[in-house]
Symmetry: C2
Subunit: 178 residues, 2 copies
């Protein structure tokens, strides 16, 4: 079960019968915070899952609008999703941030830290705004992932801010202390 497959199954459970495009929009709305899934990926995955019997596909016949395919979970899909939800997960993600690569290889601190700091600040503001919109009524999952995003953005802001301040102090000083 690849992450994308889990996303499609999980969202279709919520959406009932839906098109690949619907799934893509739901993914943006609910997961866009920490996981992006290009639409081409979603189309490929729905097709694959249907071929493997996890989804049932049928053409949409409603009058008007372009032809499209609707999907819904089969019993098998539901079972697979539930099994995936139950499995624990000990694997850790990598930071894998290109900005850290540049930092490692000696990019100019002021330039890099300035650009990153601005971008992370914007992201943090956007997340906080979204968090304020949250009524607290919906399931906890989405709220918690948003909180994770906020915590990490706070760390990035702190990290690049310290670097920037250190860079202003001159290149011979150590930027941050232990």
């Amino acid at each position: 079960m690849t992450p994308t497959a889990a996303i499609v199954l999980g969202l279709l459970e919520r959406l009932g019968e839906a098109s690949a495009y619907d799934v893509k929009r739901a993914a943006e709305r609910w997961l866009g915070n920490f996981w992006s899934t290009p639409h081409s990926q979603v189309y490929r995955t729905t097709e694959q899952l249907a071929a493997d019997g996890f989804l049932a596909a049928r053409p949409d016949t409603t009058a008007g609008g372009r032809a499209r395919t609707l999907y819904r979970l089969t019993r098998r899909g539901r079972t697979a999703l539930a099994a995936w939800q139950r499995e624990p997960l000990a694997a850790l993600p990598e930071l894998r941030d290109p900005a850290l690569l540049k930092l490692h290889f000696g990019a100019d601190l002021g330039t890099l830290a300035g650009a990153q700091l601005a971008a992370h600040r914007d992201q943090l503001v956007a997340y906080e705004a979204r968090q304020r919109e949250d009524t607290g009524a919906e399931p906890r999952g989405p709220w918690l992932t948003l909180r994770a995003g906020i915590l990490h953005e706070e760390v990035w802001v702190r990290f690049w801010t310290e670097l920037l301040e250190g860079a202003q102090g001159g290149p011979t000083r150590r930027a941050v202390g232990p």
Copy 2:
């Protein structure tokens, strides 16, 4: 310039002439902290960079040992690396953590948070040990990326700890406050 290409060029600048395997080991040592690069990827990239004129390749002729190819930067490679280092970078990384997916889709909090917490704690301990080994003499880049790793692990530990405590309080309570 893909990230992998930048890694290969950056490491070869440091290593002088080296084999793909040497580059892979250096990547593990220096970048393993936040970026993994499977050896197959490194072999493909050195070959590609050589074909494009960024690296010069020559067979290793030293007696004994298996035949292998040694690479070094060409002038063009050096120029490309310097240009990459100068470019600012405003793009942000995604968390893209499978554990957050499970969390979003309602995995059991106790199980998931327990497994993640243990793994992140181990990682944090390992990073802190490595940081203590650091003499402070080497270039700052590697030290700074290690620090970034530590800050993020601390956040993860905090995040999953709060969830775990919230889960013990019972599923009707909100796990964490704003």
